[in-house]
Amino acid sequence: MSRQRTIEKIMDSEYVTIGELVRLANTRYSTLKFYTEEGMLPFEQADTNLTRRYKRVEALCRIEEIRAMRQSGKTIPEIKEILNSHK
């Protein structure tokens, strides 16, 4: 098991793990897992057995975008539809 990276190191990285994204975005693990599974949060995975990794800046922007839409009164299924239509 690898040691947890410091927040400074995470902030310098291009790619982050879901756990690190939870710390950066101050959100719940289950929420990000759900966004990922539903295709709302883009990730990269070299192999199906390897850990998913997220582009830090891109992922944080997407989380903020979702958060803003939630605050403007949109439900998650509605947001999913909007994000899918942009693809």
Partner: protein, 290 residues
């Protein structure tokens, strides 16, 4: 996968319920499944409105053929490959016959988690909640599954959200005051809530451990048929036994007392030895839902 409200409810609530026999918990689930079907049938898609009233809901419960309902939804989910039947975990218990005929439903772990993660993402984060999620949480509460699928922390947060929703959402305002539980069901719900809180304390944890016979299903003992020098080998032996019986598992935390998710239910695996003519070494599976 796009599932209907009733299919989503069946997927969550059928998990770990006995498939061949009648049990009180399953009967309760089937009663609420009939309500989910009724709500679905009375949904007006054009106006995006759920039409219901307490009297009609109760009539729908009475009219429903629960056995047929179970067969229909189990078969449908089986066709989608979202549910399967495996031997009950009790079959791994030292005190039960290995050829035990008890079978339980196991939902597809990925879809099961996805359905619950949606509810958590909506109820535990800021923002509006979709109508289907408002209904789903109510169905889970009325069927008492709510206390099995959410952790204590999540239960508290969702309950607080439910209280605010009663003022904010017209659907919640109309639906949440409807109570379908019998007096026995209400007592059970209160008992489950109390038990969850009590079990979260150190004393509660200990009591459940000392008196496993209170609820054998929540305290299964698996003998390891050997004494292992380290925790890893002991865990491997137990997991091999579990997977040989067709159960799906995922190790969430390793160590001396690992946490393993078996058939979508989290357990702590506590090493234990039972006294007899010779000590029998093994692990006790204790429900982990804190």
């Amino acid at each position: 996968m796009d599932l209907t409200l009733a299919e989503r409810f069946a997927l969550i609530s059928f998990n770990s319920k006995e498939s061949e026999h009648r049990e009180v918990a399953k009967q309760n689930v089937l009663k609420i499944l009939a309500v989910a079907v009724y709500l679905e049938e009375n949904y007006n898609g054009t106006a995006d409105k759920w039409n219901f009233n307490e009297k009609d809901i109760k009539v729908a419960i009475k009219k429903a053929n629960k056995k047929a309902l179970e067969r229909t939804y189990a078969e449908r989910l089986q066709n989608y490959q979202l549910i399967s039947r495996v031997s009950s975990l009790l079959g791994c218990d030292l005190y039960f016959d290995k050829n035990i005929k008890l079978k339980t439903y196991v939902s597809n772990p990925k879809e099961f988690d996805c359905q619950l993660d949606l509810l958590k993402a909506e109820f535990l984060e800021e923002g509006p909640i979709s109508d289907e999620s408002i209904i789903m949480v109510w169905l889970l509460l009325e069927s008492l599954c709510f206390f099995q699928v959410f952790s204590l922390y999540e239960q508290d947060k969702i309950t607080k959200r439910i209280t605010t929703l009663r003022n904010e959402s017209t659907l919640a305002k109309a639906l949440y005051p409807i109570e379908l539980r019998s007096l026995w069901g209400t007592v059970s719900a209160d008992f489950l809530r109390m038990k969850s809180h009590a079990a979260a304390t150190e004393t509660g944890k200990g009591l459940n451990f000392i008196f496993p016979f209170f609820e054998r299903k929540q305290s299964i003992f698996i003998d390891t048929e050997g004494y292992f020098p380290n925790a890893e080998m002991r865990l491997k032996n137990v997991l091999d036994r579990i997977s040989a019986q067709g159960h799906i598992y995922e190790v969430l935390r390793s160590g001396d007392v690992p946490i393993v998710k078996i058939d979508n239910v989290k357990y702590e695996l506590l090493p234990e030895a039972i006294g007899g003519y010779v000590p029998i070494h093994g692990v006790r599976l204790r429900l982990y839902n804190l």
